[in-house]
Structures are given as C-alpha cells and as structure tokens.
Symmetry: C2
C-alpha cells in the first residue's frame, strides 16, 4: 500500500504539535511506513529515507524504531481519548451520540495512524505496552461511564454494559480498517450513521 | 506476537481440508507468520523453517509467497461466507440472529486467519485482489438481502440499509482484532451478545 499525498496531509495534521520539525517528519514517515508495510517490515533506514534524513539523524530524536512506534501509539491513543472526553453535552443520549460521532469520525479521518495504533500493539516493549494499556482502560472506562449514566437515568436499556462498551468501541475503531478517503462515506457522515446505530444498540 | 500451541491447533482445524499434508503445513506456517509479524516481514524461508521443510519445498506447492497469501485469503473468505449462507432459519429475525452468531463466532475462533484475511488485502496481486473482492461482495450482498427481507417483512426498521450492512459486518469482523483465547468471552458468548446487539441496531 502506498500513501497518497492526501493521506500525508492528514498525517501532517495528526502530528502537527510534535517539535522540532525533524522529529515530526520522522514520526510522519514512520506512521506511513508502519501503516503501509507493517512495523516489522520497516527499518529505521526506510523511515530516515522517507523523511529525507540520514539514518543517524533518527537517533537524535528517538532511541529506536520501537520508540517511534511508542510515540505514535501514545499520542494516537491520547487523541482518540480526547474525542470522548472533549464532548460538552451532559444529557446521556446527546452525550453518547456526540462521543460516538467524534470517536468514529476520528478513526476515519486519521485511519493510517489508527491502524498503526491498533494493529502493532504487540510490537511494543512490556513497559510501553503497559502505558498504552492504561490509556486503553481510560477509553473504556469513559464509555462505560457514559453508558452507566444513561442506564441510571433510564435513557438506555442495556443488559450487558461491558459487552456494549466492547461493541461500541470495536465498531468505531474498525472504521480505520475499511475507511477509504474519497469513498462514498465521509468521516462526518460515518459519525452521524454510527451515532444513530449505537443509540439503537443501547435502546435509547 | 508468538503463536501459542492452542492457536496452532485452531489453524490446523481451519486448514484441515488442504491436501497434501505438506501443502497444509505450509499454509498453517504462513498464516501464523503473517498474523504474527505481517506479510511483508515474512520470507518464504521463514515459512519453510516453521513448517519444518526446505525453502525449495515451498515452491512445489505454491508459486510464491503471494500465492500462499492468496490461498489463505480465498479459503478464509469462503469459510466466512459459508457462516452466513449455512444458516437454515428462514424467519428474518431468527435468520439474522443465527447469521451474526455464526459469523462473529467464526471471527473469534479463527482470529489469526481472519486477521491475515482482513489486514493483508493490499499485498495481493491485482488479479487475486479482484477475485477476493468478488467474495467480499457476496458476503455483503448476503447480509444486505437478509436486512432487506426483514425490512420488507416489517421485522426490521432500517433508515440506511447499506450503512447497516457495513456496520454489522464491521462489528463482526473486528472481533478478530480484539479477541483473546482464554479471555472472559468465548466465541459462543460473543455470538450471543452480538446477535442481540445487531437485532437492536435493526430495531427488530
């Protein structure tokens, strides 16, 4: 899989806060390479070449290829979590709809980063993996709280809350697998569709 | 990611019909390696070593590494399709529940094969990709027909049928990503949970 110019722009946007620019260019090159050929098939030399830098320059900013993956995974998970915690609605149904809309749209728009984040977890060191698992738990507990609040308020009817959390997150995350930029569905329209489907799942 | 003894047993089961035994051993070794480190990071030499054969022996049965991937993808998609077409129920609600149960359980039980099938599509040659896309269209149209029949019978209420097809398949397929053998949820219990959630999505 090759990365299109549009997809590079999206990666630029995803990683816009990373400084200095050389470190940012390397993260973008690494995310594109990991998404395209997989973590294990990518060398730091490939990443340096794609970033237009020398292989040695990578080690000024990152300890290793795994360190690049960890930064992508850590920042990627934080961004995804922010999609849920950034919701301002307080009424349970509106809150869940807004959260699902933001979270699923993010997985469409930033599908390359999201794929790396989801598919290369097992390549992290045990310490880095533990740190990312902590972020994943926060994502889960944020959604669980939203569902529990809705059940408590009588807005949702959910026989298996943990099962519903799993299904809601899975549905949104899998957008990163099938989404194609320029296809029939935009990130925005996926968000609208999924908010409706999730509210139905919760019998809102 | 290393493949456990239990996961090898499941791969043995998945590929039980492939003959001769040497060809089967190679497919199993290839599926485990592709699921573990990715297609691009795996060599035919790795596959031969894992199958306990010489690198030259691979070429007696398969034209190339890509040919191994194609066989895994083609047979994997056919098995997944059979989960949907093998349903004997005719009443729309019972039929959809049985199909979702079988399809999602399959993606749990055969998660290693399903991951390869879903994540390595872009590594296929254009001809092989086209053949697999045909099977994917059959999977989609089988589910679309089930939903349309239910809508026509007044059993489902679905504003966006194509959107619902996408979400139902995505939800079931993504089980292959998060499922862990020996975890809280068995393939059977995932099937039961997902059948209920999908019927809710379709307002059955």
């Amino acid at each position: 899989m090759t990365t299109t110019a549009h997809e590079f722009e999206l990666l630029e946007h995803t990683w816009r806060d990373v400084t200095p620019p050389a470190a940012r260019r390397m993260l973008i090159a690494a995310a594109a390479a990991f998404a395209g050929r997989g973590y294990h098939a990518t060398t730091t030399r490939d990443i340096a070449a794609q970033a237009g830098m020398s292989p040695a320059a990578v080690y000024i900013h990152y300890r290793s290829k795994e360190d690049l993956l960890f930064q992508i995974s850590r920042i990627g998970h934080r961004r995804a979590l922010e999609m849920l915690t950034g919701v301002t609605e307080t009424e349970p149904v509106a809150r869940m709809a807004a959260a699902v809309k933001a979270f699923s749209s993010w997985h469409a728009e930033f599908h390359l980063t999201a794929r790396v984040v989801q598919y290369e977890l097992t390549a992290l060191t045990p310490e880095h993996h533990a740190e990312v698992v902590e972020l994943r738990r926060e994502i889960e507990s944020t959604v669980r709280e939203m569902i529990e609040d809705g059940v408590a308020a009588g807005a949702f009817e959910v026989p298996d809350v943990r099962g519903a959390v799993l299904a809601v997150l899975s549905l949104c995350i899998d957008v990163a697998r099938w989404y194609k930029p320029g296809g029939r569905r935009t990130p925005e329209s996926i968000g609208t569709l999924y908010a409706d489907l999730v509210l139905r799942m919760l019998s809102a």
